[in-house]
Amino acid sequence: MVDPLVPPFVPVLLAAVLLPFLGRRTGHALGALASAAVVPYVWLVTEGAHLPVQLFGFDAVLFNVDPFSTLMGVIFGFIGAIGVLYSYASDAENLQTAFALGYVGTSLGAVFGGDWLSLIFFWELMAVTSTLLVWHYGGKAVRAGFRYALAHGIGGTLLLGAVIWHFAETGTFLFGSVPGGPETAGMAGGVAPVLAALGIGVNVGFIGLHAWLPDTYPRPHVAASVFLCVFTTKTGVYGMYRVFPQDGNVAVAYMGGAMAVFGATMALFQNDMRRLLSYHIQSQVGYMVAGVGIGGALAQAGAFAHVFNHILYKGLLFMTAGVVVYRTGEESLKKLGGLASEMPITAGAFSVAALSIAGFPGFNGFVSKGIVISASHYAFEKGPVVLGEFYTLELLLLVGGVGTFMSFIKFGYYAFFHGTYDGSVRDANRGQSVAMVTVAALCVVYGLFPGALFALLPFDVTSAAVVAHVYHTYTTSHILEGVALAALGLVGFALVKKPLSGLGRVPDVDNVHNSVTFYATRALVVGVTELYAAVDRVVVATASATTAAVRAPGAVAGRVTGSDDPVSLRADYSTSILLVAVVLAVLVAASVSL
């Protein structure tokens, strides 16, 4: 066991600061090492250890170790190292990787914070570093970065409001699980959880609040996308768990189910590879949000298992898509095809990742998605729609699974297997290959040996003492379910392939709120400008009049009395005596008569 001396974000952020000043090879090696070192470090630190500090004069905990944060730390550190390796192989600049490592470090800070104050502190820093990461690419990424920053500014502010409300209710920022924290975990009071859910909802991509996600992630450097797809949304899931740490929240659970279906459906309509993958983030995060919303040991274990697996296969998917973009320069599936023979390693890695995300038996997605679906059946209300054995939320999650299969069949079909590619394309280079194969191998290992995954989870899902319904990965019904979903996906894709190919860009909510935002902002700017001008005119006129009155009071008095000549305001002899007499008369009369 290791003592918790240094919060894990420190070495990563140090590496991020040093990186721009080092050579490309040294710098990236240092970055990968710093990020990788986090994995054994947080794994070995004793559970329950924490590092209390004072932040802005309040009690705060910078290194709070419990099973949830350990799991997040392990996978964040691992994917951070892989991402740095991939960045190095994909010709990313040192500065970009530095921003990316800053993003990794602040995310680590957020998940290891033992109180709301350090969580929100790092939460906002994440928004800053990730925006910088997007901006660094320039071009279209800059405007998308602005929209991204705006969305996260609003979300962060809502969460900050919730945190302050929580503080007003409990008098402490600490989590309930930390010594000295409040008696009940989670956000206290009636309003704070709603504000927090909405604020975090921006990060995890609640339907309606998700438009930044497919807008931003396809735009920056391919290596930047690998980082982006991991940290913001998953930290959001972790934050959501901290808000509802015990019994979850029904509305959040259904929102998760809806996200799973909505994201997968929207993904099906996309032709830009990374945009398609971005909608799948929303869809997959839907499973995790559903798990957090269901609450209880089984669902939370499933949610965090899915976080863990999702980071692996989604990182891998963005890496494969990145390699395709890197080698061909094409973003659109319509212009690709037949790459399987040209890029066998990439195609292989993609297949593993696609089967994982779709939840095909034998791959890690199957395990974790299965836990969440199982929880939605055994640990959650039936809901309004019941179809035989299947309940409402369960149905939503299953439909989302079919949509996932369909869209990844589409991706794979058009990118790798459909037709032939004109000319020759080289496969992924060595660094990219190492990164992809490592992650792909893990996807398979965790799929075939779910016990390795279970060991990481906060709750033992195989123990009847811990969970409501013991979870067995490979049962006949489970495998049948997985295969049936795949079959439905195949059939579905065959049915919609024709109409899909004729489909243009499908509008999303951002069409509405981008234009609303645009015109509202313009109205606001014009209004403020005009108001300012009006106030300015009044103030300037008043000031000029005052100045004139002060400079030449006589002239002003003359104008007031209607004569053209300035009135002399200096009292001469007679006026002086008159003044004295008047004052005397008034005062004597007043004092004598009253």
Binding site: V580, L584, S591
Partner: protein, 510 residues
């Protein structure tokens, strides 16, 4: 000890006669006589002050009569303070006057006569005697204002004379009413008789109060009875501006305090709300309007004059509040204002001597041309605004605390606002002096072209070999005033404790 009291008045009167007589034998010997008399006067004042802050007041009856029939001279902590101030300022201004002039013997004779009148007003315990000294003060002041060499001085002096005499007459009329009512002129005796309400017709007492207050308001220059004051201060030679701005209104304000509390007493104010309203009204109007008028002035000395109208409003406010803290504040601000305002007028004179700058615009970039003048002016202005730890802060602080103690919130608001108003007219000068480029056409040339309009310059031109020379004495006086404005700020709180017994006795007197 009590035999020393008449010397506070006699020494300057004697000095005045000697100065006039010495002029017959040797011209320009007046300054030396004045210095000698002032040093002696300061020694007398110092000796008296050293023992005045005790439990007993020092009392002396002139001519071997008995109180209340004879004229009583009284020194307590308050009058000792003012006496010391008069003696100290008179000596300090002399150091300035050595080079700045005027230099004739009759001038110094009048100068010492003014000091005698002021000292007399300070130490007298007799109301009619106070009127006599008020007239001596007034006549000497009119003559001093008229001693300038351009046409402005006599005109200003004439206006001062007419209005001032009017005020003194009203004061006398008030004394007459009080005498009819009580049959006595001794202040302490008057207080006893006025307190026995059955013995005195209240209407008579009220009329007396109104007449005396209006008369003194004219002398203090409370708005709108201030009309003589800006002309007199601006038209007089710089030396005289410094002296009368520091002392004449100050002693008149002291007289107001003395008459209100020693003669009429707190009981009279409590039973006559109109009397108190009179003081409060005068204070508020003076503070606000005086400041606004100061902002609108283009000539520095006129601006300083209107500033006095505003500052004395503050002291009248303290008199109106009438608790220990406020009256201690009034005493501190009387001393502080005298040092600051006298210093400012002398600094303005020094600046005019060095550069010819007399208007606000000509003060642009003054720090390059007259670093000592600009520095001293800056320190004094900051003190006048009331920035800690200067004496200006201490005075305002006590008055403001006093207002809060007696729950006069409206007055407190005006007092606090007065700081901002003071800032309004001093900030623009400070800004011009330190942060602006000098005007493209140097003020020196313009002043040189119109020397006849600059009395102090004309005097300096006529006397010294160096036409614009400012003597060491002038620098020393100005810098001394600036240093004192800060140093007194540190001493003020200790002094406040020292003065408290006197004020408490004053408030308790019947």
């Amino acid at each position: 000890m009590s035999d020393l009291v008449p010397f506070a008045v006699a020494v300057p009167i004697f000095g005045s006669i000697v100065a006039l007589a010495a002029g017959v034998f040797r011209s320009k010997s007046g300054w030396a006589v004045a210095v000698g008399a002032s040093v002696l006067q300061l020694a007398v004042a110092g000796t008296l002050a050293a023992s005045a802050f005790g439990d007993e007041r020092i009392s002396y009856v002139v001519g071997g009569f008995d109180v209340p029939f004879g004229i009583e001279l009284v020194v307590d902590g308050l009058s000792a303070t003012v006496l010391l101030l008069v003696a100290g300022v008179a000596l300090g201004v002399l150091a300035y006057a050595r080079r700045a002039g005027p230099r004739s013997n009759p001038f110094y004779a009048t100068y010492l006569l003014l000091v005698a009148g002021l000292s007399g007003m300070t130490v007298t315990g007799d109301l009619f005697n106070m009127y006599v000294f008020l007239e001596i003060t007034g006549l000497a002041a009119y003559a001093l204002v008229a001693s300038g060499e351009d046409g402005r001085s006599p005109v200003a002096a004439l206006k001062y004379l007419i209005v001032g005499t009017f005020g003194a007459s009203l004061f006398l009329l008030g004394i007459g009413y009080a005498y009819i009512g009580t049959g006595t002129l001794n202040m302490a005796d008057l207080a006893v008789k006025l307190a026995e309400s059955a013995a005195v017709d209240p209407t008579l007492a009220q009329a007396a109060f109104a007449l005396i207050v209006v008369g003194l308001f004219i002398k203090v220059a409370v708005f709108p009875l201030h009309t003589w004051q800006p002309d007199a201060y601006a038209g007089a030679p710089d030396t005289v501006s410094g002296l009368i701005s520091a002392l004449v209104s100050t002693v008149a304000a002291y007289a107001l305090l003395r008459v209100v509390y020693t003669v009429f007493g707190t009981g009279f104010l409590e039973s006559n709300p109109v009397a108190e309203a009179m003081l409060v009204g005068g204070a508020v109007v003076s503070i606000v309007v005086g400041s606004l008028l100061a902002v609108s002035q283009s000539e520095v000395k006129r601006m300083l004059a209107y500033s006095s109208v505003s500052q004395f409003g503050l002291i009248v406010a303290a008199v109106a509040i009438g608790n220990t803290t406020a009256l201690v504040g009034a005493a501190i601000h009387l001393v502080g204002h005298a040092v600051m305002k006298g210093g400012l007028f002398l600094t303005a004179g020094l600046v005019a001597t060095e550069t010819g700058a007399r208007t606000v615009e000509e003060f642009n970039g003054l720090v390059d041309r007259s670093p000592v003048g600009a520095g001293a002016f800056g320190v004094l202005a900051v003190s006048m605004v009331g920035v800690p730890p200067t004496v200006g802060f201490a005075g305002k602080w006590y008055v403001a605390v006093g207002a809060a103690e007696s729950g006069a919130w409206a007055l407190l608001a005006v007092i606090v606002a007065s700081t901002l108003l003071t800032l309004a007219y001093f900030a623009r000068l400070v800004e011009r002096m330190f942060f602006r480029e000098p005007a493209p056409q140097p003020a020196v040339e313009r002043a040189g072209a119109t020397t006849s309009a600059e009395p102090a310059d004309a005097v300096a031109d006529g006397g010294g070999g160096d036409p614009r020379g400012a003597s060491l004495g002038m620098y020393a006086t100005v810098v001394g005033a600036a240093v004192l404005a800060v140093a007194l700020g540190f001493a003020a709180f200790g002094y406040g404790e020292l003065l408290e017994p006197t004020i408490e006795r004053l408030l308790l007197s019947p």
